[in-house]
Amino acid sequence: MNLPERPITVLIAALGGEGGGVMADWLMEAATASGYPAQATSIPGVAQRTGATTYYLEIFPAKKEQLNGKEPVLSLTPSPGNVDVMVASELVEAGRAMHNGFVSPGRTTLIASTHRIYATVEKMQMADGRFDSARVVEAARHLAKASVLFDMRSLAQESGTVINAVLFGAMAGSGVLPLSREACERAIRGAGRGAEASLRGFAAGYDIAARARPAPAEPAPPRRATELKEILALAVDRLKDYQDERYADLYQQRIKPFLGGDAKLAATVARHLALWMAYEDIIRVADLKTRASRFERVRREVGAKDGEPVVVIDYLKPGIEEFASVLPRFLGKRLVAWAERRGRLDAYNVGMHIKTSSLFGYLLVRSLAWMKPWRPRSYRYGEEQQLIERWLGLVAEAARRDAGLAFEVAECARLIKGYGETHRRGKANFLAIVDARVENPDTADPRAQAAAIRKAREAALADPEGKALGATLGKPVVWLRPLARS
């Protein structure tokens, strides 16, 4: 009889701790029990500490008794263009496999989960450093002979198991392995512990890959308000909730001059203005933290079952700034000026663990929220409104010259966010850009100026130490940094 010319090769890309090794064991067991010569290998080592790692298997699709004592020579490493089944437990790992040439149009079936586990370098960025998932899906369309892509993590969670069971099922269901469903299931059962849950996950993955049931729907893209009308409606609601009708009216007055002009500019100003006016002070934080909807959300996030009480403890560490922010303007201003002069702005923060779910804790935090009517007289309010007016003035002035330039000035509001030092840093960056690129530009050409502002803004978001922005502006950006913390 004719023997196969080559083994079936399977490369598995996984992250440490995801059970890739267990899946390799299942495959090996199923292949061996089916009478096929097979070999599996891996590079566990230190990569198993949360890093990207791979497992590689070769299965020779002819029973041992047909080989008359001959043994196939199986390779320990995959080679590009020579992989039959590429399995990835996460989307960017599928991308990495393609990048390394392990997915080829003539040969490779790609089986991968579409969920993302963000790498540290993606999530530590100050703005949005996430890799665009669509690129991986698009690349798979060009590079794979066939692909089975769906969110296997959510399916695993539904089945009460881990992702490797779903992946194994998808592999078996896609028909690319020379292994029967029964052989695969027997291998899972033989491995013992957790077999029932694994079998559920296996069945779900199998059915989807075999098109016996539809893949779970991909999560809807996040709702983003882009249309001016929608932004205005959201903004007015937000500010009524944040303060009152009058404050919402102030918003509408402020945005009015922009409504007749460039639509993109108007939308951007409307969005940033709403966020800025609803700045996060302790009154706002206290308000948000003591809403019934918040406790419901916490229950959901921590996966508490009905009848399981959840104790919520908040980590608050207010200091001079927070205290000053609710003082009358003249007092707050003096206090902050004194603290800044002495370098003691962060010296008196009081770390508190408040049990917000208890009656006492709740009342303590809620009482701060009750200060809402006082807010317009507070120091922080005055400071914020002053800067908002200044920003709006700069945007309006730029709009008279060029809508593109005004857009870049408006976008600078993005830099101001967060609390404490983060907020101080953002504000310092904002002011530095305003000073060096908006008010005192080194070019008269509005386009060149717009580009320079964009570059500076991107630099401000490149690193938290202000190094990139300092280099871009040609002078260091200084903000008050905490001196005594512990």
């Binding site: 999530k123 590079l143 980590y315 208890s358």
Partner: protein, 686 residues
């Protein structure tokens, strides 16, 4: 231990003619028993960590045979243990990783090789090279050459590996020379099968004791014996080894019809060579190749007769030798010249890269070029180019601290301290804590070797106006840090700050036990304390901190930076390895829950409506479960922080939020499972 082999070790009992299925490392252990080994030991390190785990889990089986097992204090200790085979006809085997392990072991290895052995001495080396490696990239070959230790590099096939272990002992005895068996990462973990033999009880063992001590002045490494030993190596041991290797046909020649060509390869690369030939249409799936192959299962010493015989009358040969320098290729060139086989063109590093792992792709490209099939490489280049165009640069995903790792908060504290006092020079050490050098921490300026953190700081500290910091793990402490670092610093009256990560295990290698582990197997001594050792050495400033209290850790670090105390300041950063902790906790919690007992599950979270998406918290942590998600606010674009499933509730998020005064978005949730009546009542109030 991270991985238990308790069930798998049953395979070590297989008898004559049975079939073993399993991993390379376990197969090697079985081969040791089949060879009648009398003592085994080693030091953990990937890719042979599991061999130590197997040996420890197989103690009962080994005891039955009278075999002595030891978890040596270091690779040097392991190599020195092989000294038992110098005077007594006992077979011994030790294992450690190469090259760092071999570096540490060198002193003992040189002396062992000079004295020569009576009983077979085998060193199982995990060649930690290429993808998956965690160390500097060097090869073991140099050690074999400089000390004259034979180097085996078997075809990565369990049957061959087992055979080479058995033959290795015989070779060692036939030539009075220790033997190294080199296994690449993937070979250590390869799953396969082989026919087993019966285990042999050693002739001398814990059950059949040595009666009389042997004394042979010729075996002592002291002049004048050392001069005689060197001569003996060349005049007697080398020819004996060459004779043995030839007679036993340890190297393999595979004939092929394209006789004008030939490939000489290291045994470990044979499968890659065959696969490349298959892909190019020069071999079938079973290894029948049209190009003749000389497969060196022994890469040191080389056998001139075999090599010249193989190369004679060929137009050209290709040497497939991984790594650099190209010892084998150069030796082949010299050998052919010396034996006047001058017409053969020798290829090697001209067609294959000088440095880096010989993966399937690399070997394929080299052999394609050798066989004038360079066009076969084109599709690979095109494919990768297209993928790069479609994908652009992908985010790297190096290994990092586990969820809830107790070492992470120490570096968070150091970051907090840095924002206060400026950048700090940190001398790093080997261990999981070396992940501090990666984002988001980027802490650690040098790493010089296991346990050598403090020693590597010796000439740094005096040159700095303010103090620098040194890291060391408890593994490194016991390996040699106690002497090379701590004793040295005290002795030389140096100033300095040493942070010892006391996580209780050799965690990076698979959480093996250390002398100061919190609990011990029955066969290890309990309660060897680092604190008492420090006291004994005379370190006058020792503080212990709870790692998760970031603020307190930062404060203690600052105190060490600023105190007037001259001399070594040691901070013991105490926090049990979370992998081990969870391994112990999980069954306990499951039991509690099933018994209906009140159990509190802790998880941290982020309020999505107060998080503004700056991600400062992530830059201070890097925990896999502290990540980001789409901003639920339609007016905002930057993703918000979130804590996903898998959070073990270590509390670092909250501590960081406090210590660095980050933001008020973090909360701690305590889910009360099987609540008491009181819990329910209290929860009803709100």
């Amino acid at each position: 231990m991270e991985r238990s082999f308790k069930q798998e070790v049953a395979k070590l009992k297989l008898g004559e003619g049975e079939t073993f299925h399993g991993e390379g490392i376990l197969a090697v252990t079985k081969a040791l028993l089949q060879s009648g080994v009398a003592y085994v030991g080693g030091y953990q390190g990937a890719p042979v960590s599991h061999m130590m785990d197997v040996l420890n889990d197989a103690r009962d089986i080994l005891d039955e045979l009278g075999i002595h097992v030891e978890s040596n204090a270091s690779e040097a200790g392991a190599a020195a243990m092989l000294g038992a085979s110098i005077n007594y006809p006992m077979r011994g085997a030790v294992t450690f990783k190469s090259t760092v392990g071999t570096n540490v072991a060198s002193d003992a290895l040189s002396n062992l090789a000079s004295a020569g052995v009576l009983g077979g001495a085998l060193i199982v080396l995990g060649e930690d090279y290429g993808e998956g490696s965690s160390i500097i990239q060097e090869r073991s070959h140099a050690f074999a050459m400089k000390s004259q230790i034979w180097l085996l590099d078997p075809r990565p096939n369990l049957r061959k590996i087992v055979e080479m272990v058995e033959q290795g002992f015989e070779l060692s005895e036939a030539s009075s020379t220790p033997v190294m068996l080199e296994l690449r990462i993937r070979a250590c973990h390869v799953q396969g099968s082989f026919k087993t033999k019966r285990n042999q009880a050693p002739r001398l063992s814990k059950r059949t004791l040595i009666e009389n001590p042997a004394f042979d002045p010729g075996r002592i490494c002291l002049p004048p014996a050392t001069y005689a030993q060197e001569k003996h190596k060349i005049d007697v041991r080398w020819p004996a080894a060459v004779r043995f290797i030839r007679e036993r046909k340890l190297n393999e020649t595979f004939a092929g019809d394209m006789r004008e060509l030939g490939i000489l390869c290291q045994g470990g690369l044979y499968n890659a060579v065959i696969r490349a030939l298959q892909q190019l249409g020069f071999a079938d799936a079973f290894g029948a190749s049209r190009v003749p192959i000389y497969c060196m299962n022994v890469t040191y010493p080389l056998i001139p007769e075999e090599i010249t015989e193989f190369c004679r009358d060929k137009a050209s040969v290709l040497v497939v030798e991984e790594g650099q320098p190209a010892y084998i290729e150069e030796a082949v060139l010299a050998m052919l010249r010396r034996h006047e086989v001058d017409d053969v063109k020798v290829h090697g590093k001209d067609l294959l890269p000088m440095a880096g792992e010989y993966t399937g792709e690399v070997v394929f490209k080299g052999i394609a070029r050798y066989l004038n099939h360079a066009s076969a490489i084109e599709p690979i280049i095109t494919l990768k180019k297209k993928a790069a165009e479609l994908l652009g640069g992908l985010p790297q995903r190096p290994p990092g601290f586990c969820v809830g790792c107790p070492e992470r908060p120490v570096f968070s504290a150091m970051k907090v301290l840095e924002s206060e006092v400026g950048k700090i020079h940190m001398s790093a050490d080997i261990g999981c804590h070396l992940f501090s050098t990666l984002p988001p921490f980027d802490l650690g300026n040098t790493v010089l070797g296991y346990g050598l953190g403090l020693a590597s700081n010796s000439a740094i500290q005096p040159m700095f106006g303010r103090r620098t910091i040194t890291m060391m793990g408890d593994g490194g402490f016991w390996h040699n840090g106690l002497t090379s670092g701590i004793a040295n610093t005290v002795f030389n009256k140096n100033d300095g700050i040493l942070v010892i990560m006391k996580n209780g295990y050799s965690s990076a290698t698979g959480t093996q036990e250390l002398p100061s582990s919190p609990q011990h197997s029955a066969h290890k001594a309990p309660d060897m304390s680092m604190e008492r050792a420090l006291e004994g050495i005379g370190v006058g400033w020792v503080k212990t901190v709870d790692n998760y209290k970031v603020g307190a850790v930062a404060k203690t670090l600052k105190e060490a930076m600023t105190t007037d105390y001259k001399g070594l300041k040691v901070i013991i950063a105490d926090g049990e390895c979370q992998l081990e902790r969870q391994r112990k906790l999980r069954p306990l919690v499951a039991k509690q829950l099933s018994e209906g007992k009140r159990t509190v599950r802790v998880k941290y979270g982020v309020d999505e409506d107060t998080c503004t998406g700056d991600h400062s918290c992530i830059r201070l942590s890097g925990c896999p479960t502290l990540t980001i998600k789409d901003n639920p606010d339609p007016l905002r674009t930057d993703p918000v922080a979130t804590v996903i499933d898998g959070c073990v509730g270590c509390g670092l998020c909250g501590e960081n939020a406090h210590a660095a005064v980050l933001c008020p978005s973090f909360y701690r949730a305590e889910v009360i499972q099987n609540p008491s009546l009181w819990d329910r009542l209290v929860s009803k109030i709100l």
